[in-house]
């Protein structure tokens, strides 16, 4: 409010006519004069813009990294609409080889909850696939074809409920087994090293090629109906499974339903997606903190760069600024002009930095997504509109603030003494 008022008042003063009756040239809007200064020293300002662009790129990368993987993980977990995961006590789903006994009984009990729309038991175990005389190590998923949340069908047909002879393969598994749709694939359970025979063998028909959502890049995985995998993994006797996923009818019912399930099944670990994100956040605390630190450093470097540049620029233009002051430009106008110049410099550098940052983010994402065991669908650098808008505003504000000190220097310079010094 003050600056506006000041600006208006100054405008009125500046609008006064000279002795010849002509208004001062800066009477309407003096800021273009300051913005034109950006073109005076192309090398210097070019370097400053390059510096701001690189630090902005770093800031952008860190903003994307700060919450990117969490958002990516959340999208992955909610991709098929199941909001609750149930696993053996003290574990996260598929994080250990621990299993849940009596999984069908638990599934039936959960399905009785009025808020629950769908329940799907899952099992996971290491298996072998036979290819000629060789055995290929695979990861096997046991699913309920009527309620699945683990894959997206890419080729062929999905498993139908009750299909105990069908098999779904990931593309790497199909390649390693040299199996095409309709081929018969032999799966065997773990071998007993003493008798050198598999505990169980099943011959299944490849029905479809799917993308398993939680697989890491190149993971050879297969999926069968839950009872088939239970047979192969030796889970059948106690009806064991690895996890249960639950879809709740309304999102606002997720937490109350999770609480009810926790109370009903104290021997199981019940996690909503929000709970899983908390666990995930704990494991990835390093990246969040790193992004915060490097993002802050980027902002500091930007402020230092702009402040240094503006200070020296203002020192160089002391004579010009004193002249403007002498012919009626108010201090507040000088301050506004210098700060605007700093903001404009930051804005232009920031725009260049955004372009550079999108390239570096892609490169850094390629590095981090090569983590072994990380689901291929996870991304570390995920754009989030609100975060980007806030970061952009903070950056421009930092540039404007960086101009405060040089603007103050410019405004407080004594007019007569400066003009006298400049004249000599």
């Amino acid at each position: 409010m003050n600056s506006r008022g000041g600006a208006k008042g100054n405008g009125e003063r500046e609008g006064k006519e000279t002795a010849t009756g002509a208004p001062f040239p800066f009477s309407l809007f003096p800021f273009p004069r300051f913005l034109r200064n950006l073109t005076r020293h192309p090398v210097r300002n070019g370097l400053a813009l390059a510096g701001i662009a690189v630090t902005t790129a770093m800031l952008l990368n860190m903003v994307l990294l700060a919450g990117g993987i969490e958002r990516s993980f959340e999208q992955l977990l909610l991709g098929r609409g199941y909001q609750i995961r149930i696993s053996p006590k003290g574990t996260l789903p598929f994080d250990t080889e621990a299993t849940i006994p009596g999984i069908e009984r638990i599934r039936a009990a959960i399905a009785q909850d009025p808020s629950v729309a769908s329940v799907a038991p899952l099992a996971g175990a290491s298996l072998y696939g036979r290819r000629g005389d060789s055995l290929i190590t695979l990861f096997g998923y046991g699913i309920d074809p009527a309620h699945q949340a683990l894959y997206l069908l890419e080729q062929g047909a999905d498993l139908q409920p009750g299909d105990t002879t069908g098999l779904l393969l990931s593309e790497p598994a199909a390649r390693l087994l040299n199996a095409a749709l309709g081929d018969t694939v032999t799966l065997v359970s773990r071998l007993d090293p003493q008798v050198i025979v598999a505990g169980s063998t099943r011959r299944l028909v490849a029905r479809g090629v799917v993308r398993w959502l939680y697989d890491y890049k190149g993971q050879p995985s297969v999926g069968t109906a839950l009872p088939v995998l239970q047979d192969l993994a030796g889970f059948r006797d106690e009806d064991r499974g690895s996890a249960i996923i639950v879809r709740v009818q309304a999102d606002e019912e997720v937490e109350p339903t999770a609480a009810r399930l926790r109370a009903a099944f104290p021997r199981l670990e019940v996690n909503s997606v929000a709970d899983l994100l908390v666990h995930f956040r704990e494991r990835l605390v390093y990246f969040r903190q790193l992004s915060f630190i490097l993002g802050s450093i980027s902002l500091i470097v930007t402020v230092l760069l702009v402040a240094t540049l503006m200070t020296i620029t203002v020192n160089e233009r002391r004579g010009e600024i004193a002249t403007l002051r002498a012919i009626g430009m108010s201090r507040i106008r000088v301050i506004q002009g210098v700060m605007l110049e700093g903001g404009a410099l930051t804005l232009i550098g920031g725009a260049l930095g955004a372009l550079l940052g999108s390239v570096t983010a892609h490169y850094l994402d390629q590095i981090l997504t090569s983590f072994p065991g990380l689901p291929a669908a996870i991304s570390f650098f995920v754009p989030h509109t609100a975060s980007l808008v806030v970061a952009g505003l903070v950056l421009v504000a930092a540039g404007v603030v960086a101009g405060v000190y040089p603007a103050w220097l410019a405004a407080r310079a004594p007019i007569a003494a400066t003009l006298r010094t400049e004249a000599t």
């Binding site: 090293p193 704990e282 605390v285 240094t308 090569s370 983590f371």
Partner: protein
């Protein structure tokens, strides 16, 4: 060796004849257990309980691959854990020490041909596979470092250029009074090296302080003695040389621009 998930609870009984267990320090802290305490262990809630006595509390070897998992660990004698699991005479893996001179790779290949159902691998191979995560982190750090160095180089060049610009009138006076261009160039370069040297010293001090703070924070955060940040002589040497090199290059460029400009222009009258 066998690794499983267990549930533990206290039992208010004593028994010297009970099997012993060694608890990792964090496990003991979480259970508020001390040496001599008795624990009831079960594979899962409601399953058969085994009673054991805490014989020792140990500090685990620092392992970066498990530091974020915060698992609570306990060590058993192999037969005790086998009995608890109901899987006697079964193990997850063997560790084999070879005779001096024996080739690990060849021995592993030989063992793999003896029987099915297991995979023998040299420790170096396993270490190589398990360190993939840290290689990815190192690559990420290297990429971030490259961006930081580029930003620093531009910043340094900009500062040097601005500093030299400030000296335009001094340089003009020197040129008017007959000082040679080479002398002015050398003076600016010397100043650049001094600035870079002081900056390097300050930077190294800052890095050491940041390293101490990082280790202190993360060791407390993860409750571990793992070293997270290490400032080595090699890193310091590389950083200082890079900083001096960048300072020298920036100073040379700025000085070159200064000495090739007409003194009248430097004086502001050109």
């Amino acid at each position: 060796m066998i690794a499983v998930t267990l549930l533990a609870a206290f039992a208010l009984v004593t028994g010297d004849s009970l099997p012993g267990v060694a608890l990792e320090r964090r496990t003991a802290a979480a259970l508020e257990a001390r040496v001599g305490d008795t624990l009831d262990l079960a594979l899962e809630p409601g399953s058969l309980i085994r009673r054991v006595v805490v014989r020792a509390i140990y500090e685990p070897a620092t392992d970066p691959s498990t530091v974020t998992r915060r698992d609570l660990a306990a060590r058993f004698h192999l037969p005790d854990l086998g009995a608890l699991l109901g899987a006697t005479d079964r193990v997850d893996r063997f560790g084999i020490a070879l005779q001096p001179g024996a080739e690990a790779l060849a021995t592993a290949a030989e063992l793999n041909q003896v029987a099915f159902g297991y995979r023998a691998a040299p420790s170096a191979l396993i270490a190589n596979e398990s360190s993939q995560t840290f290689r990815v982190v190192s690559r990420f750090h290297a990429a971030i470092a490259v961006i930081s160095v580029i930003a620093s180089a531009i910043f340094l060049l900009c500062i040097m250029l601005l500093k030299v610009e400030e000296r335009r009138r001094d340089a003009a006076v020197m040129r008017f009074t007959g000082v040679r261009r080479r002398t002015i160039f050398g003076a600016v370069l010397l100043e650049a090296v001094l600035v870079a040297s002081l900056g390097s010293i300050f930077g190294v001090a800052l890095a050491v302080a940041a390293s101490v703070a990082t280790n202190s924070y993360y060791q407390h955060f993860f409750d571990t003695r793992l070293i997270f940040s290490l400032v080595t002589f090699g890193i310091v040497r590389f950083s200082v040389l890079l900083s001096l090199g960048l300072g020298l290059a920036a100073g040379a460029l700025a000085a070159w621009r200064l000495v090739r400009t007409n003194p009248m222009i430097l004086w502001g009258r050109g």
